[in-house]
Subunit: 255 residues, 2 copies
């Protein structure tokens, strides 16, 4: 239950000057950018990291000139005025197409995420002729970054890697968690009693997604702020995984 | 564009002791609960308010004993082991049923929101034999509260009324905006150029939903914290409306 005098939450943007290159040590960048702001990362904090920063450091880029589009990609791209090489990469990143309608391609990625273009993105990528892909395993990326922070600075905050996804029914994108380490992404209010003594029905809140959205408010869409620290949110340490945020297909009425 | 030395965001929970009754003056409760925390609300702030607080103050409660279920509600309730009076109220609050499958009733409300049980909720409501409904017009409720804050305390923060909704494809609920006053709920990055000078494609972020989710992290699910102040998020003043967050049916692939 929320304490009555719950603490304030603080969300601290961390600015990284210049480009994040393949092989970059994100942990060192985090510590340096926190220091530049006069902040010190704590193990009780939650570190939010954009997918773009992780994908760049991991070299998850594909150059358009290296892509040979399939007949299917060529036909679809021609019909919807898209780059067939971009369509081809989206298809390669997809396990299944959920919707392919009105020029919008909603795909299920190999991780199980349902999002536009399987998370393949053309914006903000070095040179302009390249596409950025989601990390192969963003949970693993988050856990690695957490381990490296322990090595570099002897702190082990929870880590959430985020990307902005569209939603059914509501306009606009919001930032959500695609990789989690060190905390449970879901908080269950099951079995808690409300002030009247009634048992609440099982209520599970996707706090990792709310934390991701909160961080987006200070990170914006451009690349200058790839990290944010969330301070003051009490969480139970746990290995954690963004897979817990993927609704099982058998329970999904909209997949 | 996000400034490189963007400000920290602070999210301040406001505790209200005791029950919010029909006719309660929420503006006075907000000011008093802020004072009790040593905080002063500013016009630059964003005030987040739970649906439950607004619905209680507006008397949006239905007593189960007053509900006469229809034949359809009786049949559906019998099949899924639900209270037929609860089902009846959900149907009355619905403009359309989106899915009625595996015991889950996803409805489109008169406002256009798509959510489980049309936002009708049994938890935390006085006496236990009552259901809480969404406000008739939460934009209007938000605008009224804003006007009243101007009267009572000469401040006019943006106001967001929130409720927790489930999502397609992802587990867990998140807090989203159902009423907005004083700010644009969407921020568009259209036409901004990224650090490489490329024009970003139109990217519209549902910041009101991200703000709602951020506030949930300090409000929790029980009724002790019906308000939160978000401080440090720069927004463009605008009348605002949560209707902007409802995807038009003609552009919705999942409605």
């Amino acid at each position: 239950m929320q304490e009555h005098m719950a603490a304030d939450l603080r969300i601290i943007p961390l600015h990284v000057p210049g480009e994040i290159r393949k092989g970059a040590d994100l942990a060192t960048l985090v510590i340096e950018s926190a220091e530049a702001r006069g902040e010190r990362l704590n193990t009780e904090d939650i570190l939010i990291v954009t997918q773009k920063a992780v994908s760049k450091a991991e070299g998850r880029l594909v150059r358009l000139e290296d892509v040979q589009p399939s007949a299917f990609a060529l036909a679809y791209a021609a019909e919807h005025n898209k780059d067939p090489r971009h369509v081809e990469v989206v298809l390669r990143e997809s396990r299944r197409i959920v919707k392919m309608d009105r020029g919008v391609l909603v795909a299920e990625t190999r991780h199980g995420f349902v999002c536009a273009n399987a998370g393949v993105d053309a914006s903000n990528v070095d040179g302009g002729g390249a596409l950025s892909l989601l990390p192969v395993d963003a949970d693993h990326s988050a856990a690695e970054l957490r381990d490296r922070l322990r090595e570099v600075a002897r702190v082990a905050p929870a880590v959430i890697i985020t990307d902005t996804f569209g939603r059914a029914w509501r306009t606009g994108i919001t930032n959500v968690a695609i990789g989690v380490a060190g905390m449970d992404p879901l908080v269950s209010y099951a079995g808690q009693t409300d002030p009247y003594g009634y048992e609440l029905r099982v209520t599970v809140v996707a706090v990792a997604d709310e934390l991701a959205g909160a961080a987006e408010l200070v990170m914006g869409k451009t690349d200058g702020v790839p990290f944010a620290i969330v301070r003051g949110f009490q969480y139970d340490p746990s290995p954690g995984s963004a897979r817990e945020l993927v609704r099982d297909a058998s329970q999904d009425l909209f997949r």
